[in-house]
Amino acid sequence: MSYTKRFDNRKFDEMRKIEAKVDIIPRADGSAMFKIGDTVAIAAVYGPRSLHPKFLQDPEKGILRCNYTMMPFSVSERIRPGPSRRSTEISLVTSKSLLPVLDLTKFPNAVVDVFIQIIQANAGTRCAGICAASMALAHAGIPMKDMVAAVSVGKVGDKIVIDLNKEEEDYEDGATDIPVAMTGRNHEVTLLQLDGEVTKEELMKGLEMARKGCLDIIEIQKKALREAIKENQNE
């Protein structure tokens, strides 16, 4: 059986509705919210601040610590709060996807902490988290070479689609989910995970789709950042 029409009537290369907002947590140095469809992520950035215990410090450059957490009520069946095998992995890949654009050489021995909370989940949470974290880091004034955006592509049945929702991820005839993160100017891939089956041609088609999606997201991110400043500057 082939997958001819998407469950929520989107086109195969159409993302869900995106909303982005910057400066949502007054106590943090930088913060942002990113919403794609029913998936909502918030990110807060603290720092650069001093890092303890001392053996973690790097005297050549600052380090980045990401912390991804899903809130217990974010999915239909309550998940146990606290770190898990899954959230530890996502925290790690998130920090690895953000590090290539960050310039932390000016903050030796210091740490930049990024806390990502998933308030509501409907697939693509790590991508939403990366998008929110990228905006929050820019808002915190950390030197960045570029913005990072992320979106998932995948194979549902026999079709390559962008931005899968939960229904599509659980498609009975098999679905492959490929989260991709990219930088804005040079389209460098900073995250690519793949779980499932896909041919080389299909992957290339998916990546091309993700590139277009990421560029759209970056425009939305930049707009949100500009608006946050304008609100503060109307005198």
Binding site: G47, S50, N109, A138, H139, P143, M144, K145, D146, E235
Partner: protein
């Protein structure tokens, strides 16, 4: 070729500001091939051939010459370590202190833990050691009054154009106010009510910094409360 984004507009990390080799990147931007690219969220400033991005958000970034207010956090043989609200503590050497310190004296007798000082940043080394001094006009240990914090990026708004905002609050409340560039503000008044009013006014400036005609609004607020 030339500048691609209008001056005084807001730029975001990754924005291409200028093309070609006519312009030089300075603060908050860098060169990538033919382009000058922003690396900060901030205001674009073009001065002759120099491109600068002035950061508008984020935590305090120490600069040489800034007056800051900090708390004594630690001390060792010849120095105090002052928390100035950034990733690195400011080092205040004994020879840079206002007070004369005898050899082998107990440093806690001069500046004790929890004391606040008004200090000036004299030197920042390459690996971000910050040297500060309390020698100079207006620099000292804080006695009396209270210290409040505002977001460092709102400090220019609290000070106002040529200090208009802060001097208005000073006159309106009869308080001495010292604003540190790191967002710490020392308020010292004759009675606690004055200090409370000054605190309220400053927090009002911080919360409503985006509103038009804020100076008039604060003036009206101070007169009403008097």
């Amino acid at each position: 070729m030339g500048i691609l984004i209008k001056e005084k507009s807001i730029v975001v990390p990754g924005d291409i500001i200028a093309e070609g080799m006519d312009y030089l990147p300075s603060l908050g931007c860098f060169r990538e091939g033919k382009h000058v690219v922003s690396e900060r969220l901030g205001l674009l400033n073009v001065d002759n051939r120099f491109i600068k991005v002035i950061p508008l958000t984020g935590s305090y970034v120490p600069k040489v010459g800034d007056t800051v207010i900090g708390e004594v956090k630690d001390m060792s043989f010849g120095a105090w370590f002052i928390d100035i609200g950034c990733a690195y503590d400011g080092t205040l050497m004994v020879r840079d202190a206002t007070e004369f310190v005898e050899k082998d004296a107990d440093l806690a007798q001069v500046y004790n833990f929890g004391d606040f000082v008004v200090a000036k940043i004299v030197k920042i080394t390459r690996h971000s050691s910050i040297h500060i001094t309390t020698k100079g006009p207006g620099l000292r240990k804080i006695q009396g009054g209270k210290v409040i914090s505002v977001t460092p990026s709102k400090v220019p708004r609290v000070i106002g154009k040529q200090g208009s905002m802060v001097s208005m609050i000073k006159d309106g409340t009869n308080c001495t106010i010292v604003v540190g560039q790191n967002g710490k503000i020392w308020i010292n008044g004759k009675n606690p009510d004055d200090e409370l009013l000054a605190t309220e006014a400053i927090l009002k400036v911080e919360n409503e910094s985006h509103i038009d005609g804020l100076t008039d609004k604060i003036k009206a607020f101070l007169e009403k409360k008097k």
